[in-house]
């Protein structure tokens, strides 16, 4: 047995996940949990997509009664809530959970048990939301759950309670992931990976995680106020008692607009990697892209009122928010020009991920331009609550986040599974999704300009909107077919794809410097970094490494936040069943909280006891 094999075996024993159900339930490996986040998010994408298809089928012709108005309300609420809270953010954070430790050259995240807990809470929260729909208690007041529509007097069902509680679940989960990623990125980077050498996706996850901390706290607090209004008759959003429904809108959009960037910024990080790899040159304007990412993160907290132009707020305030909404496009434009410059001066290889990049350019830029139109108050007042806004937001979110995400799944698939996805199926999927997206969402702008209102379950034949709606419905089925081809490709290639090797795309960053899929503990010896592109600048046999870390303990390096100088060794906790127990306890308490305020105490107690158990040291002082 060679020394290398012996080292690998020791690492596998120390960092590996136990076989069987127990191992499956107790794992704290960031790769497993990251893939679970991504897989579960895709599952919810399918559910949210199915709801969308039913709504499109309902709207395919005028005077249609396939869905009742009540069910239509529940479907669009569930669709939006699913796509924002259960698909987009968890998918991006899941990619971060999988990729960040590999990209910064460490073995696991700083709080692996918190991560495992966060996953379970997210899963249970999502299932809980759908249990509401299945029992006739689907939330009906929109993904933003505007008061007073979501107050007890207008929604006497449990729908809005379930909505508010789902928010609590997903926010607890995402806050746990965000804090874990921030500290992992700041303190566990490979020696030599100073701030100016951090891969751009890691930068985007760092900024996004900070945004999650502030934005998700806002919505979690506001949704607790809403839940209290419904459960114990507080009066936060009730006008006659001195409350104000607009307070809810302020809080919601103070979260809601940064939320768009919480989805978009990781996508920009993904874009930088796809473009760099397939342009065969380092990214143009690394520093500009980093500053643009940070600037977007900050400015995005100052634009929320543009969602409220039609609420009768003072004119002077509105002009400020028009200005800030225009300003926030500048850093995005800077990034776009950097990417174009990279492609322009590189030698682009038109593989599937780069096709999705092109789709991103086309659709996101269109969404950005209609966004600039909507930032203007007079235009917004005309198109508010019409399908123009639906077209705009789907251009931004599908073009800006789903296209990069699909490109990224294709790109990192060899790392996840060790096998290559089918290029031909990938091209078909791209074509179907691109055509489907445009066919579905472009006509919505025209319908919106013609005055077709959103969130209305049908329309009269005399409006003349039938043809375009039919076209959109056909487009939505083509889009769904494209997603199906993608999913089939991802599943089948896991068995039939050709073996990938460590670095099939010839990429520059550290995740490609280890095996595919990465072994337990990620790297046999932790890497040391001397540039932004370690794989391009150093031959595999000439790469410096860290020695002296015991392989039989879960030890990683703690480095300084700015320059990544090794400061100490730190032992990370191993697998624990208490993470799942705590998540089940939290779930029981939060479900109770819908019916009884004492659920809060139950949730606290049922979660706190396992938390103490998981933190309690073993006899040898380890966790």
């Amino acid at each position: 047995m060679t020394a290398a094999v012996a080292e690998r075996d020791t690492l596998a024993r120390t960092w590996g996940t136990r076989r069987g159900v127990v191992g499956w339930l107790t794992t704290v490996d960031h790769k497993t949990i990251g893939l679970r986040f991504i897989g579960t998010a895709l599952f919810f994408l399918a559910l949210g997509g199915a709801l969308a298809l039913m709504m499109r089928t309902q709207l395919a012709r005028p005077d249609n009664h396939l869905l009742s108005p009540q069910l239509y309300n529940q479907f669009f609420t569930m669709h939006g809530t699913t796509m924002m809270f259960l698909f987009a953010v968890p998918a991006m954070m899941g990619l971060g959970v999988y990729l960040v430790p590999l990209m910064i050259g460490t073995r696991n995240v700083i709080f692996p048990r918190l991560l495992a807990y966060a996953y379970w809470v997210y899963l249970f929260g999502g299932l809980f939301l759908y249990s509401g729909l299945l029992t006739g208690n689907g939330p009906p007041a929109g993904w933003f759950s505007y008061t007073p529509l979501s107050e007890s007097m207008f929604d006497p069902t449990k729908g809005s309670d379930i909505w508010a509680q789902t928010i609590t679940y997903t926010e607890v989960s995402m806050l746990g992931v965000a804090v874990t990623l921030i500290i992992t990125i700041l303190k566990q980077r490979a020696p030599g990976m100073s701030l100016n050498r951090i891969p751009l996706f890691v930068w985007s996850m760092l900024v996004t995680s900070f945004m999650v901390v502030f934005a998700m706290t806002t919505i979690a607090t506001a949704s607790m106020m809403l839940a209290a209004d419904r459960l114990i008759n507080t009066r936060f959003f009730v006008e006659p008692a001195g409350g104000d429904p607009l307070l809810w809108q302020h809080f919601f959009w103070l979260f809601g607009h940064p939320e768009v960037y919480i989805i978009f910024l990781p996508a920009t990080g993904l874009m930088s990697h796809l473009i760099t790899t397939f342009s065969r040159r380092p990214v143009f304007g690394y520093t500009a892209i980093v500053f643009a990412t940070i600037a977007t993160g900050i400015i995005s907290f100052g634009v929320w009122v543009h969602h409220m132009f039609a609420t009768g707020l003072p004119q002077l305030g509105l002009s400020f928010f028009t200005a800030s909404s225009l300003i926030v496009t500048i850093p995005t434009a800077i990034q776009l020009f950097c990417w174009i410059a990279t492609l322009w001066s590189g030698r682009p290889q038109w593989r599937v991920p780069l096709l999705f990049v092109l789709g991103f350019f086309f659709i996101l830029v269109r969404g950005g331009l209609t966004g600039i139109m909507l930032a203007s108050v007079p235009f917004d007042l005309q198109t508010h609550d019409t399908f123009f806004v639906v077209g705009h937001l789907h251009d931004v979110l599908i073009g800006g986040a789903v296209f990069p995400l699909l490109g990224a799944l294709f790109y990192w698939y060899p790392k996840f599974t060790g096998r290559m996805p089918s290029e031909i199926a990938g091209r078909w999927a791209f074509a179907l999704i691109f055509i489907g997206q445009n066919l579905t969402f472009f006509p919505m702008h025209i319908l919106g300009l013609h005055g077709m209102p959103r969130r209305t379950y049908t329309y009269l034949a005399s409006t003349g909107w039938g043809t375009l709606n039919q076209l959109e419905t056909i487009g939505s089925y083509i889009l769904a077919l494209g997603v199906l081809v993608t999913v089939a490709n991802l599943i089948l290639s896991a068995f039939r794809g050709r073996m990938a090797g460590d670095n099939p795309w010839g990429a520059e960053t550290l995740e490609w410097a280890t095996a595919s899929p990465p072994p337990p503990g990620n790297f046999v010896l932790l890497p040391v970094v001397g540039s932004r592109a370690p794989n391009w600048d150093q031959r595999p046999d000439d790469r410096p490494v860290v020695t002296g870390l015991p392989l039989d303990r879960r030890e990683v390096l703690f480095t300084t936040a700015l320059d990544a100088v090794p400061a100490r060794r730190i032992e990370l906790p191993g697998p624990s069943a208490w993470t799942l127990v705590a998540a089940v306890g939290t779930t029981i308490g939060l479900v109770m909280l819908i019916f009884n305020p004492w659920g809060l105490v139950v949730a606290a107690l049922l979660a706190a006891a396992p938390f103490i158990a998981w933190a309690w040291p073993k006899a040898d002082g380890s966790s």
Binding site: A228, R235, F236, F558, W616
Partner: protein, 202 residues
Amino acid sequence: MIRHPKTIDASALPTEGFGVASSTWWGTLGFMVIEGSTLVLCAMAYTYLSRRSPLWPPSGTPLPSLLIGTVVVAVLLVSLVPAFLLHRAAKRMDRGAVLLLLLIGAVVEAIVIVLRAYELHALPMRWDGTAYGSTVWFTLGAHTTLLVLDFGESLVFGVLFLKGPIAKRHFADVADSAMYWFFIVLTWVPLYFMLYVSPHLF
């Protein structure tokens, strides 16, 4: 062991650390940012609704007792003394002193929680009458949750230091817990001014 061309030898690096070298310190900081933001949002709701209302508190609503609020904030400020000493003892890794100060801290926290319960009991309005009452109760409730949380943590650390196997890192954890108590006390000061003093000024 394979020979590698350029290596960094980590074997001599320390395995323990306080402050920025402790993972708990960073975790506590993250928790403080999240909880601090929650309290800021409570204050935002309070000030927003007060600006929207012609009379604040609404006419006929009595003000909460300045005396009780002031006593609670004073006791909270006094409790910083044992927290400060605990932080120092933890950094010295003096197990006896840490245990003693943890117990003193827990007693002080218990006193604060009892006083807080009385403070809530003595509020002259309910949460379901007006939005004013809702924000006062919500803000006090959010902060009380933190008090109870830290009290529980003190008890757990007390038992750990009394009975459990102690590693060096547990001293770092106790130091971070003391830092968290500072956070709880100092965030209450502006909220105290908002809830108890500002209605007399504006």
